[in-house]
């Protein structure tokens, strides 16, 4: 999978590519409009992550040109502009998703994965992690071929974990993923805890390994490492 990160803030671009590289994507960076335009013209990418305010031009225009050339590329906008008009405009010119800065890298990663899944398999796909199988279209989860009934939030939580395997996830990023940006109360962190407890119990009951580990002071990690 080839990705292009178009972001004028060098440090942020580096963080994003480092994070996505660990997921096995090949990441390239562009820090100006011209550079991004050139790269998009020369190479083909599976997914492009674009900041809207760029030196030398507007990210929206970049997306428009890209859409005309190769319609199959997935596009995610990352912008500090939170205005609804910007979101709508972004989606109108053909972007697939819109993330407002600041965002969690794990959230971006989950969105990228979900986008690639949608693009490549039209949603008719499955995620397999060891004995856990998720049928994304049907929103069904199987452990060792037995169906495990999860609540909506538990399912979302599992998918979020599966998108970020072996990555330390902060409680705040989990809470925001499940309830949206506006969740900021201490209770949400308790809720994260109780959801994780339930998810873990349901998976282990069906015979899955116990993959969720809590990391002191930070959050949780899903995986074997």
């Amino acid at each position: 999978m080839k990705m292009l990160v178009v972001e004028d803030e060098q440090g942020l671009a580096e963080s994003i590519s480092a994070y996505l590289s660990r997921e096995g994507y090949r990441c390239e960076m562009a820090v100006t409009y011209a550079e991004a335009d050139e790269k998009m013209y020369l190479y083909e990418y599976d997914c492009v992550i674009v900041d809207l305010t760029l030196p030398g031009g507007d990210g929206l225009q970049l997306i428009e040109t890209l859409k005309k050339r190769t319609a199959s590329t997935g596009i995610i906008i990352i912008s500090a502009r939170n205005a609804l008009e910007d979101r709508i405009k972004g989606l109108e010119v053909g972007s697939d998703d819109y993330l407002t800065k600041p965002f969690h890298l794990s959230e971006l990663n989950a969105r990228v994965k979900s986008l690639i899944r949608r693009r490549n398999f039209g949603g008719h796909n499955e995620i397999q992690y060891r004995e856990i199988l998720v049928q994304v279209q049907a929103r069904k989860v199987f452990v060792n071929q037995q169906e495990t009934v999860l609540s909506r939030k538990e399912y979302d939580l599992l998918l979020y974990f599966l998108a970020n395997i072996d990555v330390a996830l902060t409680k705040a990023s989990i809470a925001e993923h499940l309830w949206g940006d506006h969740i900021d109360s201490a209770d949400s962190l308790d809720m994260v805890y109780s959801h994780i407890k339930n998810l873990r119990r349901k998976l282990v009951e069906k015979g899955s390994g116990d993959y969720i580990r809590s990391i002191y002071g930070i959050g949780y990690k899903f995986g074997t490492a």
């Binding site: 803030e9 963080s15 600041p102 900021d184 109360s185 209770d187 109780s194 002191y216 002071g217 930070i218």
Partner: protein, 423 residues
């Protein structure tokens, strides 16, 4: 009361008083003049009479003009003073009472004391007085009415540029970003007024646009470094070799940056609402939105053991941009949840005129008046940035809604009603 109405009224009152005073003074002066003339005549006649009787003595018929001179026997009473007086005497032919001016004095005719009254008929003088007074009163009244009418029309025309300016200012809307266009009237004061207003409005518009631009730029410029911080922290926590202390530091940095981001977004939102930078107002069923939001928080409700009671008699509709409607209900619900107690309650009550959300909770420690102020946090909870209710209030204020808070027996209730249209 309008300015012209006010000046007209004062003018009218003043001129009526002046008119009455002039009319009275006029009448008085004419009357005095006529009396003076008549009395002088009477004094002259008295001297004529005295000269006459010295030479000829008095016989009853020596002066036949009716009621002209009356001579009777009579002694001078003590303390008598010669005086004029008005009297009425019956006309011999028409039997009408006719006004006379009369001078009474005592004269000795051939050694015998007589009381003498010399009279002059006032009937002609009275008529003259009436005619003059009436003419003057009419002319004055006409003059008065004329001036009043003229002044009314004139000031209406003179003040017209002022009213024009006023109506232009009323139509002036910052959000549209158009400059205020004012005329250049001939009158210097109005011209100056327009120039000053023009300058002021241009400055305001300029500042407004600057501020708007600033909020937009600041949003971008501050969110980006924040994004950088969170991204780097997230990278950092992936490393395996952190000590417990380091983890705690990192966590603090992370939380602080998240809070800062929320804080900034909240302030930005407030500024944008104040500047009315949200378009696309539309009727929104707030009751439905609020219910939806509450159901969204189902897990949290369950987790805290909070019971939800809803009583929607009729939906509450309000006109506002959808983004703000969402913000409004989210903040209300967060507030009701945050300050709730375990095993508490949340009640939603909706009619077509009021939407109320109440929750159980600890008694308020702060002044209820500060509830909607920025950064007034209840119980020092550091989790919230203390902007939620300010945002709610700002949205309500800007979109014709009113929010009220009441506490009854440990139940905190927020009610949204429509502002009465009497602006």
């Amino acid at each position: 009361m309008r300015l012209l109405e006010k000046t007209n009224r004062i003018y009218l009152l003043f001129s009526v008083i002046l008119y009455l005073a002039t009319a009275l003074a006029f009448y008085g002066i004419i009357k005095w003049l006529i009396y003076d003339e008549v009395e002088n005549r009477l004094l002259v006649e008295k001297r004529d009479f005295q000269l006459y009787i010295q030479h000829y003595g008095w016989t009853a018929n020596s002066y036949f003009v009716e009621n002209k001179i009356e001579v009777e026997l009579g002694r001078v009473p003590a303390g008598f003073q010669e005086s004029f007086k008005d009297t009425l005497i019956e006309d011999r032919y028409t039997q009408k009472l006719v006004p006379f001016r009369q001078l009474t004095f005592y004269e000795s005719i051939k050694g015998v004391e007589h009381r003498v009254a010399i009279r002059k008929s006032m009937i002609q003088s009275y008529r003259l007085m009436e005619a003059i007074t009436f003419t003057m009163a009419t002319v004055l009244a006409l003059l008065l009415a004329g001036t009043y009418w003229f002044q009314d029309r004139l000031s209406g025309r003179i003040w017209q540029p002022f009213y024009e300016t006023l109506s232009r200012i009323k139509q002036f809307d910052l959000v549209r970003g158009q400059h205020l266009q004012l005329d250049q009237p001939d009158i210097i004061e109005f011209k100056e007024l327009n120039e000053v207003l023009q300058k002021m409005s241009d400055q305001i518009l300029h500042d407004y646009l600057n501020l708007k631009e600033f909020t937009e730029n600041a949003s971008h410029e501050l969110q980006t470094p924040l994004a950088l911080i969170t991204a780097k922290v997230e990278e950092l926590i992936q490393s395996e070799h952190l000590t417990e202390k380091q983890t705690r530091w990192i966590q603090t940095i992370y939380e602080a940056s998240l809070r800062m981001s929320r804080l900034y977004q909240g302030l930005l939102l407030l500024a944008k609402i104040e500047n009315r930078q949200f378009a696309n107002e539309q009727p929104i069923n707030l009751s439905d939105q609020l219910l939806e939001r509450l159901w969204d928080m189902e897990e949290l409700l369950q987790h805290k053991g909070i019971r939800l009671h809803t009583a929607v008699e009729a939906p509450f509709w309000a006109n506002l941009p959808p983004v703000l409607a969402e913000n409004l209900v989210t903040n209300l619900v967060s507030n009701a949840l945050r300050h709730n107690v375990p095993q508490g309650e949340i009640r939603l009550r909706s009619t077509d005129s009021a939407l109320c959300l109440s929750n159980t909770g600890h008694p308020l420690q702060n002044d209820p008046n500060d509830l909607f102020s920025r950064f007034k946090k209840q119980g020092g909870s550091s989790e919230s940035v203390g902007l939620g209710l300010s945002i709610v209030k700002e949205i309500c204020d800007n979109y014709g809604l009113q929010i009220r808070y009441a506490e009854i027996g440990g139940i905190h209730e927020f009610c949204i009603t429509k502002k009465k249209v009497d602006e």
